[in-house]
Amino acid sequence: MTKQQANWSPYDNNGGTCVAIAGSDYCVIASDTRMSTGYSILTRDYSKIIQLADKSVMASSGFQADVRALQKVLSARHLLYQHQHNKQMSCPAMAQLLSNTLYYKRFFPYYSFNVLGGLDHEGKGCVYTYDAVGSYERVGYSSQGSGSTLITPFLDNQLKSPSPLLLPAKDAVTPLSETEAIDLVRTCFVSATERDIYTGDKLEIVVLNASGIRREYMELRKD
């Protein structure tokens, strides 16, 4: 008589991929808009990106119910911060808040794989990458989600200098221009869409720079 195992899980994986690249004066955050469960598609038009503060944008893949709950908590905390300090939270501050919020649920985690992008105090692009329980690091670029295993090696190859794999460490951000970075992101997703069944439908790109925030869309394969 084998032990009965739980056959109900509080989690589900809705798939999807997120990417962010930091430049000298901009940050690109992108994700696909497909939401799936198992081998089915729930919707082709779901945004995984949220603007938390005027210089912080978060993209999250994983279990979207947890992602949404996490987004709401962070937004509420940001509102509180604004009331108390009379200013917007900086991206590094938001990065720490996200980490603490995730660790707070260390023993029933948010099933959310996050990438936080924005501009730091000097106006340079910054990208922070997380695991589900809040371990984070500032990097020059990052990818999370079902297509990350396909995209990360490609970005390592293309972006070369900001790669965290280089020793000694070189640039913190990519020397690419904004348009070049956006083009690179498009290439990443087109390739990932070919091989990853959970990535596709549409690509949402958010660009943060000194002049503000901008959103772009691109169609991806729907199969």
């Binding site: 709401k72 509420a76 509102l79 509180l80 009331h83």
Partner: protein, 285 residues
């Protein structure tokens, strides 16, 4: 009001059925510097006088943003006001989080009033010594409420609290009928005129007052000093007197308004308002 043997505890009634500690708390409101609120169908303006303790110090913050659609102006113990503003902000954030929609103003003031009432019925607490003018917008339109330390709240078309507020109230009582359809600019101008009344001849400049506004399509925010000074200059150049009433011919208006004035504070739609007073001094605001 004189000291008597029933005023030591908030939980002691006087033989006349008064709670003196609560009334003393309302005195604290009257001692604070003036705060004024007025509303039209689409906007609510809050204005207050900022008196610094000395030339060396900065003035205290008396108007607080509670949420995009609600703001509050206080008079009395500003520390109590700050604490209550924090409570109001939290309530708005929690409501938004749960219901993904803005907290209706009427609900917030009830919660605030209930919180104030608790302090009038515990022997280990004291009443909040601050009066709050809560202005906000929700689905049912623009609202202005006054919350007092007693735990009562009333809805108003326009109101003034704090020291020398009676002068402002007199001005508002004359003009309040025109506020409903007033434009945003005229509403702000009326607020400035009312504010000027409380200064008793002292010159009105943007450095001693704060004006905040919330309206349809306009989140709650405080006007910056330059804008305010610009508006003040406008009407000081044109002439000292505020524009005459459009509603009724001025001379006639003055007579009838004087008769109306003692009847009730300038109260609007009676759905939220409690009866003005119990006959005696107690709830007289």
């Amino acid at each position: 009001m004189f000291r008597n043997q029933y005023d030591t505890d908030v939980t002691t009634w006087s033989p006349a059925g008064r709670l003196f500690q609560v009334e003393y708390a309302m005195e604290a409101v009257k001692q604070g510097s003036a705060a004024i609120g007025l509303r039209s169908k689409t906007h609510v303006v809050l204005a207050c006088v900022n008196k610094a303790n000395s030339e060396l110090s900065s003035h205290q913050k008396k108007i607080f943003k509670v949420d995009d659609h609600i703001g509050v102006a206080i008079a009395g113990l500003t520390a109590d006001g700050r604490v209550l503003s924090r409570y109001m902000r939290n309530e708005c954030i929690n409501y938004s989080y749960t219901y993904e929609s803005p907290l209706p103003v009427g609900r917030l003031v009830v919660q605030l009033a209930d919180k104030a009432q608790v302090c009038t019925q515990r022997s280990w607490k004291r009443p909040y010594g601050v009066g709050l003018l809560v202005g906000g917008l929700d689905e049912s339109g623009a609202h202005l409420y006054y919350n007092c330390p007693s735990g009562n709240y009333f809805e108003y078309q326009a109101f003034a609290i704090g020291s020398r507020s009676q002068a402002a109230k007199t001005y508002l009582e004359r003009k309040f009928e025109s506020f409903v359809d007033s434009s945003r600019e005229n509403l702000i101008k009326d607020a400035l005129f009312a504010l000027r009344e409380t200064l008793q001849g002292e010159k009105l400049t943007s450095s001693i007052c704060t004006i905040s506004i919330v309206g349809v399509g306009e989140a709650f925010h405080t006007l910056d000093q330059e804008t305010v000074q610009g508006l003040i200059n406008e009407f000081e150049v044109v002439g000292e007197e505020p524009p005459a009433d459009e509603a009724a011919p001025p001379e006639q208006g003055a007579g009838t308004e004087a008769a109306l004035a003692p009847a009730a504070p300038a109260a609007a739609a009676a759905d939220e308002g409690a009866p003005a007073d119990q006959g005696v001094a107690p709830m007289d605001i």
